[in-house]
């Protein structure tokens, strides 16, 4: 694994971002829109229902959800950018390996979310006096678990685009939202019908968001939830890498690396 080649692909993304108003805006536009909407909605609900803790519940869920969405999005969009600029062949005739290519996209997802999460956390504090860091260092394993699952989903989306071309690029935006209603993101797992709760816990998100709500409520970090999240993360990431490897071999057999960017 060459860190220099991984850095090269991230440097390419940074070059694009530093002069593109659209790319810079993308870092904060939707996160800020969400933050305004959910922030004021939760203020309204808190006053009307007298549920004082709802601001913290919703805003922490929103920021953590954005960690998942933005990391996944960063991976898929960096791959799509190579297709849109017809650069994929140029990259794969250099010594870069598939592993380095994937690693570069993952690092880019991290860079993007570091900027976005910082901005969101600061704005949430300024507007609503909500301090995400009050959740303490227990927040770190939850963020890491979200990032790993986002890597897995982003890798799957990228593999599908590699296989089926730009006609399925909409998955980069839409697929993560499939997890939102079924990930117990903004409400507890107990809201779902009893028969659905078991199957839903086969994905990491309900464990992560249940753990986050426990922290917001002032309870200790539920280690069993964190353990399950990381166990499932490992399984999904391994499956995602295997899926990408399979799709890449298929792309080489069917000549898709040349066709996919046409």
């Amino acid at each position: 694994m060459s860190w220099r080649r991984i850095w090269a692909l991230n440097l390419r993304q940074l070059y694009v971002m530093r002069r593109s108003f659209a790319r810079i805006t993308d870092l904060f536009y939707w996160p800020f829109v969400d933050l305004f909407f959910f922030g004021f909605l939760s203020l309204y609900l808190a006053r009307r229902e007298g549920a004082a803790g709802i601001v913290a519940v919703l805003l922490s869920a929103l920021i953590l959800w954005d960690v998942f969405f933005r990391v996944q999005h960063g991976i898929s969009i960096s791959f799509l950018m190579e297709l849109w600029t017809r650069n994929l062949v140029n990259l794969f005739v250099t010594p870069i390996t598939v592993r380095e290519f994937l690693a570069a996209m993952m690092v880019w997802g991290l860079i993007k979310i570091s900027i976005t999460a910082t901005l969101m956390t600061a704005l949430a504090y300024l507007l609503y006096r909500f301090n995400l860091f009050m959740l303490g260092p227990s927040l770190v394993p939850l963020a890491v678990a979200l990032i790993v699952f986002a890597w897995a989903v982003g890798t799957v989306v990228t593999a599908l685009i590699l296989r089926y071309g730009q006609s399925v690029e909409v998955l980069a935006w839409s697929l993560p939202f499939l997890f939102q209603p079924f990930g117990a993101v903004f409400f507890p797992l107990s809201v779902y019908p009893a028969w659905l709760q078991g199957p839903l816990q086969l994905q990491p998100l309900p464990h992560i968001f249940e753990a986050a709500r426990a922290l917001v409520a002032g309870r200790p970090l539920p280690l069993d939830r964190v353990g399950w999240a990381f166990l499932l993360d490992a399984a999904y990431l391994a499956a995602a890498f295997a899926f990408f490897g399979h799709m890449f071999s298929l792309a080489r057999r069917q000549g898709l690396l040349l066709k996919v960017q046409e």
């Binding site: 080649r5 692909l9 593109s20 005739v93 250099t94 080489r252």
Partner: protein, 247 residues
């Protein structure tokens, strides 16, 4: 005699029921400037893609610089480069940024100096801070060639290197390729539809037709063997017979 730089044996690629490349075998020696020719759809692009590890062969083997492709893909691609007008450098980066990114991908020790030297050589130094997407097709072709020489390759694959250039620029590029090939002992494997260019540049040609090699040797010899006056006449005759066969 030196070991072949490119060694292809029984190379075949089948897509569904058609065979794009049908059991071709050839060797290319160090310093050869090989014109890889054929009508559209003859299998040239598929062959080059297999040599570069972009497409997996259905059968046969490829060895580049003595190493098997794709098993030693990373080692091979560090010593090989490729340029094609149909594969773009990202348009939203400046020329310098693009070349810097590729310098890192090839692990260059002194990227700035290499970029400066090659940009001078190919006459694009004044374009380094321009957006790649704003260049003319001729300027883009020369920038692509700078990219292709970044890693000081032993083997260069060029897909129609002068297709987008005006006659004067094309002549400059041809002279440069001849000189660089000679001075650096570079092996150049290139495709072109400009038969006069091929006759001037190539030390040898391979003519591919329906996925098979139908001619292999110096251009003058191939022309003589087929009883034609030049390579253009050979190409046109083949294209017409192909069209009549379809009708």
């Amino acid at each position: 005699m030196d070991a072949p730089v490119i060694d292809v044996a029984g190379l075949t690629k089948a897509f569904d029921r058609s065979r794009a490349v049908d059991g071709i075998s050839f060797q290319v020696r160090r310093g050869e400037l090989l014109g890889f020719l054929g009508l559209n759809g003859a299998g040239k692009t598929t062959t080059i893609a297999m040599l570069l590890g972009l497409i997996a062969p259905t059968a046969g083997t490829v060895r580049i610089l003595g190493q098997p492709m794709p098993d030693r893909r990373r080692d091979i691609l560090a010593r090989v480069n490729f340029s094609s007008p149909y594969v773009a450098l990202p348009y939203d980066l400046t020329v310098r940024e693009n070349l810097t990114v590729f310098s890192h991908l090839y692990g260059l020790a002194a990227p700035r100096r290499t970029i400066a030297d090659l940009s001078e050589l190919f006459g694009v130094a004044h374009l380094l801070d321009r957006r790649t997407g704003s260049l003319s097709s001729g300027e883009t072709a020369r920038v692509n060639l700078v990219k292709a020489f970044l890693n000081d390759p032993d083997v260069l694959f060029l897909d129609e290197p002068t297709a987008a250039l005006d006659p004067e620029a094309a002549d400059t590029v041809r002279s440069l390729l001849l000189r660089l090939g000679r001075d650096r002992g570079l092996t150049i494997f290139y495709t072109s539809h400009n038969m006069r260019e091929v006759e001037r540049l190539s030390s040898r040609i391979i003519f591919l037709h329906r996925g098979r090699i139908i001619a292999d040797g110096p251009a003058a010899q191939v022309v003589r063997d087929y009883g034609k006056s030049d390579l253009e006449e050979f190409f046109v005759a083949l294209a017409r017979s192909e069209r009549e066969a379809r009708v």
